[in-house]
Symmetry: C2
Subunit: 759 residues, 2 copies
């Protein structure tokens, strides 16, 4: 394949039907909870009713006495594994914290924290038995506000956590687990050069990924020390790694079989039930299934961080930003590990800045441990920067898109974290919105007296590369199979098949994609970071090239020429030195038994040419000033998608991301009462947008090929969630004249802000 610029793709860019479509629409696809094994038991978890409490005692005798109950485990059943960091792909996870998060030791740290798990012959008996476990708690003061948690006199969650990170450096107990700073230039000089400075503070609450399918795990421990786990997960290799460390088993002795996955959005990248189920299976000698309720999902699994953010940006009269300062405190939940690091890397990255300072704080408090959620940490941060930028533009009398064009990052711009961007398409997304039918049309007047406004905002996401493996094998009928280790959460079976089809000169339908278990394919990092079509696709591309190399060798054997004399093009081999020799892949596949045997290509990659994602959104809103209800009238997102492998799926990713961003902007929030108990633990009270809340999201695919990928692919799945809260806040300002600085912009808050403004 020549360089991407000149190449006319035949499969890339088309919209074939997804390979797993029939299975999914007919209900045949197997999700984690669909797995059943002979003799299987069912496990249930007893969870803390306190936000923070010491566990004085646990008496499981009555539970064990209930007929049908086979075993009970508590924190005492888990090995003590120290504070070692476990490498999961290119990330590091504190396995001890993770182990304590999935089963409390000594203290409970949040409402919903697991205290014990019961396994019984039915899920109902197991649930009854959890109620028979007697736990004596000593309630402790709790803290749930990130700024309060940072104070010197705040209740301390982890006595061993000290300022500076280690007991050696300081003996001061703290809830601040980590601190990040990026700085460049002379901040004071920058602000001194500004004609206008805007400074605001923002608050956002925890929100949940809200995947349809609750967490689950089926585990079987064999007498030979091997374990198998069937689970809906974004990262089967991470499940193997983490479960192995938590239970102190060899990772190679654990086989993780990824089921279909009913949504993840980052929330299914760690473990909750897997080690419990495997340990219960070990204790009972029988397979164990565990499935969470929605209550458990919301109380005890990965929301994303709430945050407190301060943004100060100055610009000169020409509209050029002279300095920017951001201070962010992110809720990690009960254990260290918010996405503050990546938030600091992304928050100012869309702009070309000479003087900047970014400070980030990772803060533990008595809420569930956060997990990744689509562009982790970046939506909160963008709310701050993109609304302040809007205000600056307004004050300078500059069109907000023009302001962004003037300051926008482009090829060669240095990111806050240091590296320069290669070719990116931020400015192109601004232009695309500017020229869009949506932006070019005036905002339609309301006919019911409600107030309307139009807002824009941009977004950046760093995207990930990491490690992937793929094999590509040729079938006897000239079709091909692609095996990867990347669970398919957004159509990546098809995008991987399309990449192989492009290289091999086949139709997408003639390539059969398989998502394999952790023993059947080489190491592959988690589906996340918008990395699958980029990195696993890269592995597929290389594996297909490896297959092509061998196909040329086979043809050379048939024709008794050198492999260099054979070319492969458009699904056929031909001989350069003898023009008459030519075989289609179908013909060649049938002759492989006479040419040296079958062909399988493989590649394990760790591609470094990750292409970041930029996007610009425009939204029209209508506000009911009486109730504070905000309605989305029209929404258009323009995104640099590199090369869109399957444009339909790219559009779907954009629409899905915007929908989640709208929910985050307007309604979703973790609502804790004064005792630190989560009050909205179901989808009736935790209000996610439905299709009735949204217009059709319009999408504009801007294709600026990623120079770091042979097909030009960039990750596309996460960045769409970044601008919506800011874009809606900006639109809301144009409608009602108030600048919202708190998420969600729910009716009570909007109503209050309008009332306050009107006096």
């Amino acid at each position: 394949m020549e360089s991407q610029q000149e190449h006319k793709f035949k499969v890339i860019g088309t919209r074939p039907i997804r390979h797993d479509g029939v299975d999914k629409v007919t209900g045949r696809a197997k999700y984690g909870a669909d797995i059943s094994l002979p003799g299987m038991l069912h496990g249930k978890v007893l969870r803390s009713p306190h936000a923070h409490a010491r566990i004085k005692s646990i008496d499981v005798s009555a539970a064990l006495a209930l007929p049908g109950v086979k075993a009970v485990i508590t924190g005492a059943d888990f090995p003590d594994i120290g504070d070692n960091l476990v490498q999961v792909g290119e990330n590091f996870v504190n396995a001890r914290h993770l182990s304590q998060n999935i089963m409390a030791r000594g203290k409970v740290l949040y409402d919903g924290h697991a205290v014990a798990a019961v396994v019984a012959t039915s899920p109902h008996i197991a649930e009854e038995a959890t109620k028979l476990i007697k736990v004596e708690y000593e309630p402790l003061p709790h803290v749930q506000n990130v700024l309060t948690a940072m104070k010197d006199d705040a209740p301390i969650l982890h006595p061993a956590l000290r300022t500076g990170g280690t007991p050696e450096k300081s003996d001061k107990q703290t809830n601040v687990a980590n601190q990040v700073r990026f700085a460049r230039g002379d901040l004071a000089a920058g602000f001194a050069a500004a004609a206008v400075i805007v400074e605001r503070e923002f608050d956002t609450t925890m929100v949940h990924q809200g995947y349809i399918e609750p967490l689950n795990a089926v585990a079987q421990y064999n007498q030979d020390g091997h374990g198998t786990i069937w689970v809906s997960t974004q990262g089967p290799f991470a499940v193997r790694e983490l479960t192995g460390h938590i239970l102190q088993m060899n990772r190679g002795d654990i086989k993780v079989i990824p089921a279909e996955i009913g949504g993840g959005f980052g929330g299914k990248t760690t473990v909750y039930l897997e080690p419990l189920a495997l340990l219960l299976s070990k204790k009972t000698g029988r397979p164990v299934k565990m499935v969470m309720t929605r209550n458990e999902v919301l109380r005890a699994t990965g929301p994303t961080s709430g945050s407190h953010i301060r943004v100060k940006i100055g610009a000169n009269k020409e509209g050029k930003i002279t300095a920017a300062q951001v201070w962010m405190a992110y809720e990690a939940g009960a254990f260290p590990g918010s996405p503050i690091g990546v938030a600091c890397m992304t928050v100012l990255a869309p702009y070309d800045l000479e003087h900047l300072q970014i400070d980030g704080f990772d803060v533990v408090l008595n809420k569930p441990k956060t997990a990744a959620y689509r562009a982790p940490g970046t939506t909160n941060a963008a709310l701050g920067v993109e609304t302040v930028v809007d205000e600056l533009a307004e004050k300078l009398g500059v069109d907000p898109l023009e302001f962004r064009r003037l300051n926008g990052a482009q090829e060669g711009t240095a990111q806050p974290a240091g590296p320069q961007f290669r070719r990116i398409g931020f400015l192109e997304t601004i232009a695309a919105i500017k020229n869009s039918p949506h932006y070019q049309s005036p905002l339609p007047k309301s006919e019911n007296g409600k107030l309307r406004g139009r807002g824009v905002a941009s977004g950046f996401w760093i995207n990930a590369g990491f490690q992937s493996t793929a094999t590509v094998s040729i079938n006897t009928d000239g079709t091909a199979n692609v095996v990867t280790g990347s669970p398919d959460i957004g159509g990546t079976r098809t995008s991987c098949a399309m990449i192989a089809a492009e290289v091999l000169g086949l139709k997408a339908e003639d390539v059969h994609p398989v998502v394999a278990d952790t023993e059947s394919i080489g190491h592959t990092d988690t589906t996340g970071g918008s990395r699958v079509t980029f990195a696993t696709g890269y592995a597929v591309y290389e594996a297909a090239q490896d297959a092509v190399r061998q196909l040329k060798e086979r043809a050379a054997t048939l024709w008794k020429v050198k492999p260099e004399e054979v070319v492969y093009q458009d699904g056929a081999v031909s001989c350069t030195t003898n023009g008459n020799e030519s075989l289609t892949l179908i013909q060649l596949a049938g002759r492989l038994p006479r040419a040296g045997g079958p062909v399988t290509g493989r590649a394990s990659v760790q591609p470094r040419g990750v292409g970041p994602a930029f996007t610009t959104h425009v939204v029209d809103v209508e506000v009911d000033a009486e109730t504070g209800k905000v309605e989305i009238l029209r929404y258009t997102a323009a995104q640099d998608v590199g090369k869109a492998v399957h444009p339909g799926y790219v559009e779907g990713q954009i629409q899905g991301g915007v929908a989640q961003g709208v929910g985050w902007a307007l309604n979703e929030e973790y609502y804790y009462d004064e005792n630190g108990i989560l009050r909205n633990t179901g989808f009736l009270d935790y209000r996610m947008p439905t299709c009735l809340d949204l217009p059709m999201i319009e999408t504009i695919l801007v294709e600026v090929p990623n120079p770091g990928h042979p097909i030009g692919i960039r990750g596309v799945g996460e960045v769409p969630i970044v601008p919506p809260p800011a874009a809606i806040a900006n639109a809301l300002y144009r409608a009602v004249g108030v600048r919202m600085t708190e998420l969600p912009m729910s009716p009570p808050k909007v109503c209050k802000a309008i009332t306050e403004k009107r006096g």
Copy 2:
């Protein structure tokens, strides 16, 4: 790895516990009939009660009217696919014949021939429904004796089958489907030079593979034209190929998932239920399970050929064979395709012959179509040659082992089919038996007046290579996974894992073997022909070397040296140019994320260096002259096993092959009545040996490395079945003085022979 001669193996030759052991002994391993899917239906087959009849009409209306019945199929539901030969690996199969064998068209050709299939909500309803199908038959004359079937006036099974093979060449109808001849030298001159000539005729009946697990298939046809089949099979890729041709589906659109397999012995290398189940699933839109009863297995699936064999061998006074002539007619069953070809290649191969002629005939008759059975066709043939050789030795006054040593094939000997042997270990097996404790001990006298005798016989099997694929991936903990496409019928998961462990310097337990489905691994031919440890093991060896190459590259990246400066030995990389740099595989595996990413090796091979197998057996028998019952007192088999990867499994293969050979020799037979109906359709009447019928089989592993394999591996699984009938016949002669020429040597026949001899 250096050349095999000098290499000290660390894993090869040891006896680790089998990786699938716990699953199998605890009942967790999933066999075909263990598969169940939601909404699954159950299918049953209606079978012919006639040996040969025209189908005048089939009325399925009453069956369809039975509540619970969802569909009925007959021959009319299958596409007409012509006489094209389908390539399955390196073999060719007539797909039309195969299609007609699994569902009759117009005529039934044997008792048990499938006529219709019913699918219903339960297997019981399906079975009831088969009884409601009204089939009007016009019985035709049948033929079940191979010599009768060859006669001009025999009832003809296939009107289109003509002498010479095609209608163009001849218009004479025939049951002789194929004819083979190997000839060399001057037969008349050879016999003229003989001092002694022995000529005898032999008859053997059909015998069944007798696997424990009946045939089964679960199939699901999807609305997008794709199908999935779960089945206990030796050849998932063959199932895909054959089912695709029979149903005229793209092979790539069919995914075959091999279940565990409860014995196959060659009998599970073709299809019976798979296309029926998939077609019924297509008709009903629901998954369909079909499982045969033992009655169906015996009546309608792959026994091996009965045969009529004539052997004439002459030898001079020095004991050197001067000429050999063999004439063999093999029962193909109702459709062409006995193992006559390979029988002709193997029958005289153990001997170094100047003058020879071998004629073979493939004959159709009204019995089930034969399938492969352990060293197909060779046991029948060896009965003839090895008993005639025994008689020649006796007449010349030469020790039978010495006679074989004098005439035995060795390196450079030309096979009857032409090619010269490379290094083989036939003479070594003769010497091993000669020096064995068994042969060196005198035959113990009987204390009950029964007659005893000791016999020897040798055997040869050609072994197969064909095509295999393997991948080897490195886990993050430095262990490895091996993926192959070879269903494990004899411990090959472990032998493949051991080969990878040897190359990688790991323990066998640290390599996790996986048998994958047809989409998850590249093309791999059927488990059969004693090829898996040889050929799939070859692919594993090469894939592991591919992984080692990449591990050296990764280490070179870490150390900033060239890959050529890195050596891999004993599970560790070290730098040749900087003696301080060294990493174990465990250490290196942990650093791969910083060294270019994970490592997966792959190889698709078609190894040409197949090493044939030779064996020599000695057996002591005791004969009850009153009843004709033969008891096996002691049995020792010495076999050239190349390099025994797992000696315990090799011994198991030898013991299993001898056990099956003893059953064939003494008891097993297909017993048809005068109407051509099989009368012994269960294991109570079809008499296989039990452990009470056998002593512990003693084994001697002779290791003459195969020069065509990097580890010296030869196939070991089939040849052990070849000598037992001949060895037992020779022992029986020494005991009671009669030369048996008919299998089985069952009590009535032995009794009759003794009575006739005694007058």
